[in-house]
C-alpha cells in the first residue's frame, strides 16, 4: 500500500526480466575535493578522527567476513589490505600529526594525507602500486564519510535483494556487486551497448537503462516494478499493479519451469536436424551449473567483462584463473573463448582509447589487439595456460579478411611456442576460429574456411554492418532484420564454405521464449 502516486517511467529495456522489489539508489563515490578547514578544537578533531578510524575498521572487518562468504578470496583480500592501511604508520599517524601540529580539521587531514600517499603510489609505473592507490582513496573516502556523516551508500553494503538505481555503473563499481542481491538495474544513462547492459545480459538480470531525468522520481526504499523487456518501470505501484505484475511473473516462472523439462533433451528441429545448443557467458561463475541446464557447450565466453569490471588491466594470472575456472566448469565440454572485443564506445579507465566519431568502424577488438601486442599476448598466454584444464577453443572478433586472420594467428603461434618453452602445460590441439560479423569476411568465407578451424557468425553485428543500420536508433531500427535476404545469403555463403572444408560454424542467436516454445520444440 503506498501513499505516493504511481508513476510509470519509460526507459530502454536491455535485459529481459520482470521484477518487483525495493530500490537501492546508488550514488557514485566521487573524489570531490573539499576546501581545507582549520580545527576549531584540536582535541575534538582528534577524537573525531580516532572514532572514524575505529568505525571504519569495524565496517571493513564486517565486509571481509561478508566477502569471504559470498564474493571470494580475491575481493576479501582487497578489503583486508584496506584494514592494514588504516594501521600503517605511514598512513594514519600523519593524519593525527596534521591535526595536532598544524591545526587542520580531521576532514582536511584525511584529504591531505590521502592525496599525498595515493599520489605517490599513482606516480609509480607499477600496476600493483596504482591498484593500492585506488584502495587508499577508497579507505580515505570511508574515513571522510564517518566524519561528514554522509555515509553515502556503498554497493558492498547491500545485504538484501534490491533493484539498483544509479546514474550509471562504472566498471570498478561492478566488482563490488553481490549478484545474489541484485534483482535488476535501472540507470539514468546508458544504451544497449553500455557495459551495464552487457553486465546485466551476462548475469541474466533485468535492466532498464536510459531513464534520464525520470530517475529523479525514484528514491531508496521505494517499491519498483522493472520490466527489462519493455523498458517500463513503475514507481509506487498500486495494489492492482502489484497483483497484475505478480500474476505475470508467475506465468514467466511457469514457462521457464516448463521449458526446464527440455533441458537435457537434444535440440532437434521438426525436420530432424540436431543443433548443438551452447550458452553464452561473460564470467566463469555463469559457467557453473550450465551443464545441468542442458547446455552442450559454451559457444561464446565474452572476455570483455573481465576487463570492464576493474580499474586496472587484468594481469595474466587473473585472466588465467578466470579462463581455467570456465574450462573446468564445463568438464571437458567445449568453451569458445572470444579474445578481447572492446572499443571506444566503452570506457576502460586504464586504456586510453581514442574518442572516435565512428567507434563501430574504428579501433576496437582484434584491431586493438594487433596494435597492442603486449595486451594481446597477455590474454593469449592466459588462454594457452588455461587450455590444459578443459576443452578451450579460441576465436578472434571483428576479423575483416584473410590478412588480419593470419596476423592474429601468427601471434597466437608465437605465444604458444613461448608458453610451452617456459614449461607450462598447454592442450595439444586448440581450435582457432574467427567471428564472422563484418561482411567482407563473410564474402571471403571460402578463402578463410581453408585456414580457420571454425566460424562463429555474430548475427547481430552482421545485420548492422550489412544493412548499415544501428539497431539502437529508433528512426531506422525497422531496417534491422535477421531475415533480410542479403543477410541470409551471407550466412549461407559462410556455412557452405565451412561445410566444403569440413569445418563447423556456430551462430549467436537470441531466441525469444515464446518463439522457441511454439516453433521449435516437440510436444
Amino acid at each position: 500500500m503506498s501513499t505516493n502516486k504511481e508513476i510509470i517511467l519509460q526507459g530502454l529495456g536491455v535485459s529481459d526480466g520482470l521484477k518487483i522489489g525495493k530500490v537501492f539508489v546508488y550514488k557514485t563515490q566521487s573524489n570531490v575535493e573539499v576546501p581545507d578547514t582549520r580545527a576549531e578544537d584540536v582535541q575534538a578533531e582528534l577524537a573525531l578522527l580516532r572514532a572514524a578510524k575505529a568505525e571504519s575498521i569495524t565496517e571493513l572487518e564486517a565486509l571481509v567476513a561478508h566477502a569471504e562468504r559470498t564474493l571470494g578470496e580475491e575481493k576479501a583480500t582487497i578489503i583486508k589490505g584496506q584494514i592494514s592501511f588504516l594501521n600503517d604508520p605511514s598512513f594514519y599517524p600523519p593524519m593525527e600529526k596534521l591535526i595536532e601540529a598544524e591545526g587542520w580539521s580531521a576532514a582536511t587531514a584525511i584529504q591531505k594525507t590521502v592525496n599525498q600517499v595515493a599520489g605517490m603510489l599513482e606516480a609509480m609505473p607499477i600496476e600493483y602500486m596504482k591498484e593500492r592507490a585506488a584502495d587508499i582513496r577508497d579507505v580515505g573516502r570511508r574515513l571522510a564519510s564517518q566524519i561528514s556523516g554522509d555515509k553515502g551508500q556503498r554497493l558492498s553494503d547491500i545485504q538484501e535483494p534490491v533493484i539498483l538505481v544509479a546514474e550509471d555503473l562504472a566498471p570498478s563499481e561492478t566488482v563490488q556487486l553481490d549478484r545474489q542481491f541484485i534483482l535488476g538495474f535501472a540507470t539514468r544513462v546508458g544504451g544497449k551497448t553500455s557495459h551495464t547492459a552487457i553486465l546485466a545480459q551476462s548475469l541474466g538480470i533485468a535492466a532498464v537503462l536510459g531513464l534520464g531525468d525520470a530517475v529523479d522520481h525514484i528514491s531508496s526504499g521505494d517499491l519498483l516494478v522493472i520490466n527489462g523487456s519493455t523498458g517500463e518501470c513503475i514507481v509506487h505501484p498500486t495494489d492492482e499493479t502489484i497483483s497484475k505484475t505478480a500474476a505475470q511473473m508467475k506465468v514467466e516462472e511457469e514457462t521457464k519451469l516448463s521449458l526446464a523439462r527440455y533441458a537435457n533433451r537434444k535440440a532437434v528441429t521438426l525436420d530432424g536436424v540436431h543443433f548443438e545448443m551452447a550458452a553464452n557467458i561473460g564470467t566463469p561463475e555463469e559457467a557453473e551449473g550450465l551443464l545441468d541446464k542442458g547446455a552442450e557447450a559454451v559457444g561464446l565466453y565474452r572476455t570483455e567483462f573481465l576487463f570492464m569490471s576493474r580499474n586496472q588491466m587484468p594481469d595474466e594470472e587473473t585472466q588465467f584463473k578466470a579462463y581455467k575456472a570456465a574450462a573446468e566448469a564445463l568438464k571437458g565440454k567445449p568453451v569458445v573463448v572470444r579474445t578481447l572485443d572492446i572499443g571506444g564506445d566503452k570506457e576502460l579507465p586504464y586504456l586510453t582509447l581514442p574518442h572516435e566519431l565512428n567507434p563501430f568502424l574504428g579501433y576496437r577488438a582484434v584491431r586493438l589487439c594487433l596494435d597492442d601486442k603486449p595486451l594481446f599476448k597477455t590474454q593469449l598466454r592466459a588462454i594457452l595456460r588455461a587450455s590444459a584444464f578443459g576443452n578451450l577453443k579460441v576465436m578472434f572478433p571483428m576479423i575483416s579478411g584473410a590478412a588480419e586472420w593470419r596476423q592474429a594467428k601468427a601471434i597466437w603461434e608465437e605465444t604458444r611456442t613461448e608458453v610451452i618453452a617456459e614449461g607450462h602445460k598447454v592442450a595439444d590441439k586448440i581450435e582457432l576460429g574467427i567471428m564472422i560479423e563484418i561482411p567482407s569476411a563473410a564474402l571471403m568465407a571460402r578463402t578463410l574456411a581453408k585456414e580457420v578451424d571454425f566460424f562463429s557468425i555474430g548475427t547481430n553485428d552482421l545485420v548492422q554492418y550489412t544493412v548499415a543500420v544501428d539497431r539502437m536508433n529508433e528512426k531506422v531500427s525497422y531496417l534491422y532484420d535477421y531475415f533480410h535476404p542479403a543477410v541470409i545469403r551471407l550466412i549461407k555463403e559462410v556455412i557452405d564454405a565451412s561445410n566444403e572444408q569440413g569445418k563447423w560454424t556456430g551462430m549467436c542467436v537470441a531466441w525469444r521464449v515464446i518463439r522457441l516454445q511454439h516453433h521449435c520444440l516437440p510436444d
Binding site: 592501511f85 600503517d88 604508520p89 605511514s90 609509480m124
Partner: protein, 90 residues
C-alpha cells in the same frame, strides 16, 4: 640502538611481497625499527608496508636495518636474516 647492514639478494629485489613479509616480522617486536638504504638520507619505518613498498630497492642494494627498544637486538638479527635469506625466493 642496534643496527646491521644487509644486501638485497633476491632476483626481483625488495618488492611488494618481501615488504609484506618484512613488516609481518617487524610487527612482532616492540622496538622501533628503521630501514635506511645506503647513500640515502631518509629512514623508513620498518613497520609500514606503504613505506617499504615504495622503496623499490633492486637486487644488490644495501640497506641498514636499525632498531631501538627492549627487543631491538633480536629484531635486527631476525630481520637481517630474513633479508639475507632472500625472503624465500632463492
Amino acid at each position: 640502538m642496534f643496527s646491521k647492514e644487509v644486501e638485497i639478494v633476491n632476483p626481483s629485489g625488495f618488492h611488494v611481497r618481501p615488504a609484506q613479509l618484512f613488516v609481518e616480522l617487524a610487527a612482532k617486536f616492540t622496538a622501533d625499527i628503521k630501514i635506511q638504504p645506503q647513500g640515502v638520507e631518509m629512514q623508513i619505518d620498518g613497520k609500514s608496508v606503504l613505506g617499504l613498498m615504495t622503496l623499490g630497492l633492486a637486487k644488490g642494494s644495501v640497506v641498514q636495518i636499525s632498531a631501538t627498544g627492549a627487543d631491538a637486538e633480536a629484531a635486527v638479527e631476525q630481520l637481517s636474516a630474513l633479508v639475507a635469506s632472500g625472503f624465500g625466493e632463492i
